[in-house]
Symmetry: D2
Subunit: 144 residues, 4 copies
């Protein structure tokens, strides 16, 4: 099975991602896009941290939100873009290390609504550790 998105969809996804100032300011990037899956990465920096030097919970939520949106968009684009309706995140462990990884998968790919699940892992001296999990709902917006 070929799970790759088309080059057109991949290009639109990178274009939307790169226009988001919040993701650019954090240095986040797309690592891989599949059909209904996505991997992202966000390096540690002062702008990503809280007062103990770990990744800030809001930044972990931001990468989760972005990763879930990409995951849904991999199945919605080019006809629809998506908008987050809501998300919920549980923190499992302090997120420390050189980077944060987001891994999304699609749970429901509806015409109007999609539901995604995102795992957030810290990368600490090369070792991955699950530090948060998110469930997210997005809404499809028709592109003109």
């Amino acid at each position: 099975m070929n799970d790759a998105v088309t080059e057109q969809v991949s290009n639109i996804m990178h274009e939307i991602f790169n226009k988001q100032g919040a993701l650019q300011a954090l240095g986040a990037r797309i690592v891989h896009i599949g059909r209904g899956t996505c991997e992202t990465l966000l390096p540690m920096s002062p702008a990503a941290s809280q007062h103990h030097g770990f990744f800030h919970g809001g930044v972990i939520g931001t990468l989760g939100d972005a990763t879930g949106g990409l995951t849904a968009n991999s199945l919605m684009l080019p006809d629809y873009d998506c908008l987050a309706v809501e998300y919920k995140i549980n923190f499992l462990a302090p997120a420390k290390g050189e980077a944060l990884i987001g891994r999304g998968k699609i749970l429901r790919a509806g015409k109007t609504l999609a539901v995604t699940s995102v795992e957030l892992l810290s990368l600490n001296q090369g070792v991955e550790k699950l530090c948060a999990v998110m469930q997210q709902t997005v809404f499809a917006i028709e592109q003109k």
Copy 2:
């Protein structure tokens, strides 16, 4: 009734807030602290925006998370600091304008766990509009 926190608690709260790189990078600030309430503000900037120029959902979540934590800390400090266990946010309207306002109130002030509710409002040409709501759970960490 006097709902003000002590000067000591207010000082610790500002100190913790100012040490959080993620909040500093976004230019967020504390507007008011009461006992079990809190108001914050985050100005629009490229680092706060998504691709249509609205506030990014992850940034709205970040201000919500920070505001809820401050709300709980107003009752927990100086003996305990708090750590977010989880949060959930529903988006109600696109958040556009010159600033984002966070308003938190305490729903449960337990010895170990606190629950907060946070409203996020956009400030657009001086007009406030409710754009998201959050429920959050935090855990008390004893300070040495």
Copy 3:
């Protein structure tokens, strides 16, 4: 301002409510319907309880889900019925007493999606106590 729903909408809401076996088995009932608000009541019974004799968390969630759906339906009917997309509940205190009260209000009344907020209160010897809060998203289904 007149916040009452029409008799037609009230009748459809009671009819839908009364056809839900889960709500009937629990003896739940509608106390009041406004435009974008709703109050419900569920009496204590073995079918509503957990092992300490309090209301079961799942039953509190069930009343919350039903109350939020009614709240949205008060603005959607007769053209649309609603379906829950997701809900999230935080428990604030053990729910003990003779009844559980659900109070819903609309946070967003969109064409396709609505967001509700529901407070769940225990009624113990006539005294109300907030025991849980819910945020819920519902989806509008066109009625033929």
Copy 4:
């Protein structure tokens, strides 16, 4: 690796489960308990249904809440019992069929807080279909 719980823990879990009136009224039962995993089953009945004859969203939440609690208790008992702090459920598809299955796994097994993930599947003419997913936080209560 032996993932079975001790007979003592299994007995306490069944005892607690059987004392919960809400679960008894719905005919729910424990299918399997592992260390950090759990499977439950709830048969279709009028008490479990909504107005289209599907499983009621509140009942799906009830089975999810119970399954997550059992999952955490498999690691907490006999010294601690657990209490739900919050849960969040996303509905993926209408739940129709002869039974509902709950499958829980532990995401975080802390001393005070545990986080679980629960999948809810409908069993329709013997075919399983994922219909909802839950994230839940529980709190450990020391047993005297």
